[in-house]
């Protein structure tokens, strides 16, 4: 077992299959998420902080189209990356065909619904009649 001692590495993903494309997409989206997610976390969690975030703050941020595009990209990349990662983890432990298909479709449906909800909010913006918040 320990006689295996590779000195070089060959990586050959199935290039034209769906799994091969997803394999590539995980790496590309992962690289894209390093600036996307890190800058988001740096600004919102570290520099601004949850105590200074409220409806007005979200409305102000989304008043800039660029931030909406940014958030949309983050939503699209991060959640797809994460849900496919969860699929990979689960498929390591679920080997039978039927439960596997169930997990795949379940995760796909959850991904679709939650992404749609998030995208609708980014497009729609802060809702009107938001109580004491002054409308813009």
């Amino acid at each position: 077992m320990t006689t295996l001692n590779p000195t070089s590495r060959v990586v050959s993903p199935p290039p034209r299959s769906l799994d091969g494309r997803i394999w590539l997409l995980m790496r590309y989206s992962g690289i894209a998420l390093i600036p996307l997610a890190w800058i988001h976390v740096l600004i919102q969690d570290v520099l601004v902080g949850v105590h200074r975030i409220d409806l007005d703050y979200v409305a102000l941020r989304w008043a800039t189209l660029g931030w909406r595009v940014y958030d949309m990209a983050l939503l699209g990349f991060a959640f797809a990356h994460g849900m496919n990662g969860l699929r990979q983890v689960l498929e390591d432990y679920i080997t039978r065909d039927r439960p596997r298909r169930l997990v795949r479709w379940g995760l796909f449906a959850a991904w679709l619904v939650i992404t749609a909800i998030g995208a609708a909010a980014i497009v729609g913006g802060v809702g009107r009649g938001a109580g004491e918040v002054g409308g813009s």
């Binding site: 590495r9 991060a78 983890v89 909800i117």
Partner: protein, 137 residues
């Protein structure tokens, strides 16, 4: 169900050392971040669907325990990105890979994570203490 037991006992017994450590940390940090992300997409969506509810979500986020969790979330996001970059580079450019680079590369990701995380943890920790004990507004 024994598979879960097998996973746990196997993870402890299997001595994959640095590579296995990176594998486990990558999965845990990814799953933890995903759990938060799903919650975060849904709670942020209340600003459009139920704006009055957003305050409740923020109250949850401002809870000291949640702020503590947030500090670890940031660690997870930094580690997952750093280790993910290591994986992507070795996968997309196999020529970069050498057997003797495998273990040092794991330590490099851990070091980069700590260096990036400490200042963030300091700022967030200060905010946590200030808002919990010093009455910051």
């Amino acid at each position: 169900m024994s598979p879960l037991r097998t996973v746990i006992t196997g993870s402890v017994r299997y001595r994959g050392r640095e590579g296995q450590l990176a594998f486990i940390l990558h999965r845990l940090s990814g799953l933890g971040t995903l759990l938060f992300l799903a919650l975060h997409i849904l709670d942020t969506s209340t600003v459009y669907f139920f704006p009055a509810l957003y305050k409740e979500a923020l109250a949850l986020y401002r809870h000291p325990l949640f702020m503590l969790g947030e500090i670890f979330l940031v660690a997870a996001v930094i580690y997952h990105g750093t280790n993910g970059l290591r994986i992507a580079l070795f996968d997309l450019f196999p020529r970069l890979w050498r057997a003797e680079r495998e273990k040092p590369s794991v330590y490099t990701t851990l070091a980069v994570t700590v260096v990036l995380w400490l200042p963030a943890a300091f700022i967030m920790g200060r905010s946590l203490i200030g808002h919990t004990f010093l009455g910051w507004e």
